[in-house]
Each structure stands twice: as structure tokens, then as C-alpha cells.
């Protein structure tokens, strides 16, 4: 009987079974940022502990950083306090920090892969639930809380229970105008926001195999929105091509040896799964969320639910969103358009959005902004002139960070504004205003909504929408 990638990586990193019955798992890469670590470093100081593996720990700043006016000290005193705290902690404990002003700064889940820190077969932990993003490389990556950050800092290990594996096969050709974001939103809608509890999601099937690394990252990123703490795709030639030449990737002969090992940790053909699901790509359409969790979504041609009867959760979500049961989602007016985040803030996302935007202008009354996921993405986009495309169309072109995905920096919704967002969560108050409203969709759909001012089927806006998956 073969093994899944999860089983192989788990077995390789297992230190022992703890008296509690949990597995002590070695963490190959620990990524840290300013928001979920100050208390963990304090705990280390109080107990007189060191960082066990500063050579396997890397820090950046993303959650609270402004996306313009980044000179220090920040205007926001609390933000300045947090960044200063991370600077002090990383200096004291010998951890490298990619700070504001460094070309390697960016959203932690964007820079890990970019730098080649993220590699197949690794265990990765970070104090952020979207750490599952790194699973796109065939890593097993966990979002953890601050006490577990403390544990990983002190011991480079965490205590965990084994996970079951659900294979989600996405088969066939995606229709044009349908993107990786639509695939994962559909998976979450079908399996539910708690459907992945206790599972790792293995994304497989020919549609996944044809996807770029950026697209696989979008899919793995939102695993947690379906309740799965871990999501991954098996490493293949696409993965290896992406890895080659990255600063922290093995070089020369070591790269050839690495490739052989990376291949060996992919799930075996005869591996058995705890559950299997198939998603037929040809049936998918562009998706938009209508409610207050990422499972509450419909096709852009659909009508919001609730017309047939009273479901308290549906009525509550509709009331919050200002929607009427049964109304079409297309045509809903937006106030803000946000392109960015660890879900969809990579170069290919910006390229796709720019293609829609080119030759158009943001609708009057709509505030639109593009926030690259990292300085590297920003610079690559600027080399292609995407910044000019967006600016000419009336978008703000910002510096890298998490920004309006969670509104911990000055980029926030105001009042009950409606935001078309390429990010990952439409929870109540998520984007920084307690009454703000979020519609999740692909970056191309956000671009379309920015131009028309309403939720729009991107396939109708331009004739030449390229296929999302090449």
C-alpha cells in the first residue's frame, strides 16, 4: 500500500509520540511576522530560552504595514510599536528580518515561495492561518497560534494530532474566465466551511496539474476557509521549474538531487485516502460570495438564496449584506475594489487584472486599489508597466502588505461600504469597518467590478478573456 505525501512528510519529521498521545513534529521552516509573535518572544525571555533554530526561522512585516507613507516612525504609534518589537526580537534572538525597505519584504506567504525558502517535503509553520498556501509546493504547512509560535521558536517542534487526507480531484478543462479562485470558492461552497475539519486537503487531478504555482497557491491558501488546516498539491515539473534559481533553493548538482527527492515524496499512485471528491472543471463559473463566510457563494449568474424559506443563518447574512432573498448577485453596487492579499496578490494575478482594466476606467464613486503581495511582485509588475496601466485606469498603486484583506493598517473600509475583494475572508467586519461588506471573487472579477461599478460577469466585459488555466 502506497503512502500519501502527508504520511511521508509526517513520518520523516516525527520525533516521537508524546505522553499526551500527540505527535511531536519537527518544523523545517518557521516564518514569523509582527502580529502573532511579540508575546511568544516575551515567553522565551521569561523562561530564559533561546530560539532553537534561528537558521530555520525567517521574519518579515506584512499585517500592519502602511501601503504608502512608509517612512519611520509610522504615523500609527501602535503599528510602530509592533514593528519595533519585531526588530528588537529578531535582533536579540539572531533571526533574519526582511523589514520595510528590504527588497525581500512582503506578505509572508508570498515571500517564502519567492525566495525559495518554501520547498517540497518540508514541514512549515507560521502564526497565520493562510500558511496552507505553502502546500502548493508539496510542503505540509500549518497555521498556528502564538503559544505554538513560542513552542516552535523554543524547540522547532509542535505537538499535533495526525490528520486524515481527503483527495479533491479537479478534472477537465476550466472554461475561459474561470480561475483558481473560482475553483477553491466552489470547493468550499460544496464541502462547507467546516467540511475540512480534521483533514488535510490534497488537490489533484489534471486541472490542478496544468495550473501554475501561483494558481496552486491560490487554491491551497484558502484550504483553511473550508476548515482544512493543511492543503497541498503534489510536486511536479511545474514546481521544480519554479524552484530553480531561487535564492534559497539548492543550486547545481544539489538541485538535481533535490528534484529526485522531491519527486519521491509525492503521493504514491496506490495511496489510499480517507475520502475522495471530484470537481468537474467544465461545470464551473466565476463565483462571488454573497454572505459572511467564504462558503456562502454563488455563480455570478446566480441569485442569492433565502427565497424559499427561513434559514436563520442565511437571513442574518443577507440582512448584514443588505441583500434581498432571491436577488441576482450581478449588478450589486460596489464602493471599493481591492486587488491583493496572500490569496491573489502575485504577479500573474496582477497581470490578469491589468488585462481586464486596460483601456477602461474605474467607475465613478468607486475607490480601487492594487496592493502587490511583495516588493518583488511590485517591482516585476512595474517592469512590465502594470503600475501605469492601473494608475491610468484610476487605481491606486500601493506598496506591499496584507492591507485591506484585514484592515490592520490604514487601508480599511468605511461604514457599510461594499468591497469587491480578491482576498480570502468575507467575515463581518473583516476589512476594518465593523459594518463593512465583502464580496470575494477572482482578481479579474474585481477588475471588472471596478470598471463597471457593479458585480459583473468578467466573461461579458471583454471578448478576449484568456483561459484562467493554461
Amino acid at each position: 500500500m502506497g503512502k500519501t505525501l502527508l504520511q511521508k512528510v509526517w513520518d520523516l519529521h516525527k520525533v516521537r509520540t508524546l505522553p499526551t498521545g500527540q505527535t511531536q513534529l519537527f518544523i523545517g521552516l518557521h516564518l514569523i511576522h509582527e502580529v502573532t509573535t511579540p508575546q511568544a518572544f516575551d515567553a522565551l525571555r521569561q523562561r530564559g530560552w533561546k530560539v532553537a533554530r534561528p537558521d530555520r526561522t525567517f521574519a518579515t512585516v506584512d499585517h500592519i504595514v502602511p501601503t504608502r507613507q512608509r517612512q519611520r516612525p509610522f504615523i500609527d504609534v501602535m503599528a510602530e510599536d509592533m514593528i519595533a518589537s519585531l526588530e528588537r526580537n529578531t535582533a536579540d534572538f539572531g533571526v533574519p528580518l526582511y523589514d520595510i525597505g528590504d527588497d525581500r519584504q512582503g506578505i509572508v506567504h508570498v515571500i517564502g515561495p519567492e525566495l525559495g525558502l518554501t520547498q517540497p517535503g518540508m514541514t512549515i509553520a507560521c502564526g497565520d492561518s493562510h500558511t496552507s498556501t505553502h502546500g502548493a509546493f508539496g510542503a505540509v504547512a500549518f497555521g498556528i497560534g502564538t503559544s505554538q509560535v513560542r513552542d516552535v521558536l523554543a524547540s522547532q517542534c509542535i505537538a499535533l494530532e495526525p490528520l486524515k487526507v481527503r483527495r479533491i480531484r479537479v478534472t477537465g478543462q476550466l472554461p475561459r474566465g474561470v480561475y483558481a479562485k473560482d475553483v477553491i470558492l466552489t470547493i468550499i461552497q460544496r464541502l462547507g466551511v467546516a467540511g475540512g475539519n480534521g483533514y488535510a486537503y490534497e488537490y489533484a487531478g489534471d486541472a490542478i496539474e496544468r495550473m501554475s504555482m501561483d494558481e496552486r497557491m491560490t487554491i491551497c491558501n484558502m484550504s483553511i476557509e473550508g476548515g482544512a488546516r493543511v492543503g497541498y498539491a503534489n510536486p511536479d515539473e511545474t514546481t521544480f521549474q519554479y524552484m530553480e534559481g531561487r535564492p534559497f533553493a539548492p543550486q547545481g548538482e544539489a538541485f538535481a538531487r533535490a528534484k529526485a527527492w522531491w519527486r519521491s515524496i509525492a503521493s504514491d499512485r496506490d495511496a489510499s485516502y480517507d475520502d475522495e471528491v471530484e470537481i468537474r472543471a467544465a461545470e464551473l463559473t466565476p463565483v462571488v460570495t454573497w454572505g459572511v463566510n467564504p462558503g456562502q457563494s454563488i455563480g455570478v449568474k446566480g441569485r442569492v438564496p433565502g427565497a424559499s424559506g427561513a434559514d436563520a443563518q442565511v437571513s442574518d447574512a443577507l440582512a448584514y449584506m443588505g441583500l434581498t432573498a432571491g436577488q441576482p448577485i450581478a449588478g450589486m453596487k460596489i464602493d471599493v475594489a481591492f486587488i491583493g492579499s496572500c490569496t491573489n496578490g502575485r504577479l500573474s494575478d496582477l497581470q490578469e487584472a491589468a488585462r481586464i482594466v486596460r483601456g477602461h476606467h474605474v467607475a465613478s464613486g468607486v475607490k480601487a486599489l492594487v496592493v502587490p503581495g511583495s516588493v518583488a511582485v511590485q517591482k516585476a509588475a512595474e517592469r512590465e508597466g502594470l503600475d501605469a496601466t492601473f494608475r491610468e485606469a484610476g487605481f491606486d498603486w500601493r506598496d506591499a502588505g496584507c492591507s485591506m484583506c484585514l484592515g490592520m493598517n490604514p487601508d480599511k473600509l468605511e461604514g457599510n461600504q461594499v468591497c469587491a475583494a480578491s482576498s480570502n475572508r468575507n467575515f463581518k467586519g473583516r476589512q476594518g469597518s465593523p459594518t463593512g461588506r465583502t464580496l470575494l471573487m477572482s482578481p479579474a472579477m474585481v477588475a471588472a467590478a471596478a470598471i463597471t461599478g457593479v458585480v459583473t460577469d468578467v466573461r461579458e466585459l471583454v471578448d478576449e478573456v484568456p483561459a484562467g488555466v493554461r
Binding site: 532553537a52 510599536d81 518540508m122 492561518s129 488546516r229 490592520m408 463581518k428 467586519g429 459594518t435
Partner: protein, 201 residues
């Protein structure tokens, strides 16, 4: 291990109705902008509480009848979303010492264990019965007994579930894991030494 042994949690309860209560609602992100967890108890469900007040309602966390409660009653998929430990930290600091829910999101469940906040599950019918009971009689005292696997309330005792290792960790005070992970550290080094990506392939 020096952590508190958590075996029985006794006290009044606070019913919080609704599925998929995400951690952004439990602790809005703006309150994460601090280098300590101090004071988070003031901001538990802050936006939901403000929204309730605006609608002329009283959120359970503002309801005078439920002040001082130590057991939170919740529905399905409690604590979904963000990995922010600030959510269970806020609840714990508010005074909640156990959560009885239909089910939990995985990261919230793990984060709660790390700070000694007991999360146990019960059937939807039993959770509904407890919520109704507490809404009728806010002074009712509940007892979550981890060893017995029960939650006792006046006139009824319901079954609760908790994974064996979680129960053991709470009951023996082994929920503060760092010390455990640092034991026999040569075993950790041995595992690391075998990893191709740390050995230059």
C-alpha cells in the same frame, strides 16, 4: 509540568447562539495591534455587541444576567477562520474557562488547549437544551467534568466529548507543551540530521 490541572469547571453559563462564529468576530483584528494580550477581555465580540446595541438588543456578553459566567455555550464550527490566539485569550481573560459547543474549528481548538481553555463538544440537541435552560435560569450552575465526560446542569446531565489526549493534557496539567517538546532534545537533532533539505541534499 507546572501548569494548572484542569479537571472540573463549575459555574454559570453564557449562551451564544449561531454557527460559524469566526475569530474575526470573537476578536476584531484592530485589537491584535498590541505586543501583549492584556486587556483583550474588554473587546470580546466587540463589533457584534455594538451591532446588537444599535439594533436595540443586548448581546449575551453584555447581558447583565450572564456577567461572571465561566462556561460558554456555542453551536457549530465555533472559532473558524484566523489563527489569532487573541480570540481564546480574550475569552479566557473575560472569565470563560470552558466552551461547550456542537463543534470547533481546528486551530481555535488547538489554541485554546495551549492556554488551558477546555473545549468540549456535545450533541446539537444537548447544546440547545443547555442554552434554553440557561436562558430561563441564568443563575443555574453547570459543571463540566472532564473525567466523567459529562456536563451537569440542574435537572439534567448531558454527555460531552473531548479527545483522550486533550482531556489527559488538561487533567494532568500537561497542556503547556514547551517543556515536553524540549525533553530529550537529542531526538529532535537526530530527526533534523536526516532531513535531505537540511543536509544540502
Amino acid at each position: 509540568m507546572g501548569a494548572e490541572k484542569i479537571q472540573v469547571i463549575e459555574g454559570r453559563a453564557l449562551p451564544l447562539r449561531g454557527d460559524d462564529m469566526d475569530t474575526d468576530r470573537i476578536m476584531p483584528a484592530r485589537f491584535l495591534k498590541s505586543i501583549t494580550f492584556e486587556g483583550l477581555q474588554a473587546h470580546v465580540f466587540e463589533d457584534d455587541r455594538l451591532a446588537a446595541a444599535r439594533a436595540g438588543q443586548v448581546h449575551p456578553f453584555d447581558d447583565p444576567r450572564f456577567q461572571g459566567a465561566s462556561i460558554l455555550l456555542a453551536n457549530r464550527n465555533y472559532g473558524s477562520g484566523s489563527s489569532r490566539e487573541h480570540a481564546p485569550q480574550g475569552l479566557r481573560r473575560w472569565g470563560i474557562r470552558a466552551v461547550v459547543a456542537e463543534s470547533f474549528a481546528e486551530i481555535f481548538f488547538g489554541n485554546s488547549l495551549m492556554i488551558g481553555l477546555a473545549c468540549v463538544t456535545a450533541s446539537p440537541q444537548d447544546v440547545a437544551a443547555l442554552m434554553s435552560l440557561v436562558e430561563r435560569d441564568p443563575n443555574a450552575s453547570l459543571t463540566v467534568d472532564l473525567q466523567a465526560g459529562t456536563c451537569q446542569a440542574p435537572g439534567q446531565t448531558i454527555a460531552i466529548s473531548i479527545p483522550g489526549h486533550v482531556r489527559d493534557a488538561l487533567m494532568t496539567g500537561a497542556w503547556d507543551t514547551t517543556g515536553l517538546l524540549l525533553d530529550n532534545y537529542e531526538q529532535v537533532d537526530a530527526v533534523a540530521a536526516k532531513l535531505p533539505y537540511l543536509a544540502g541534499f
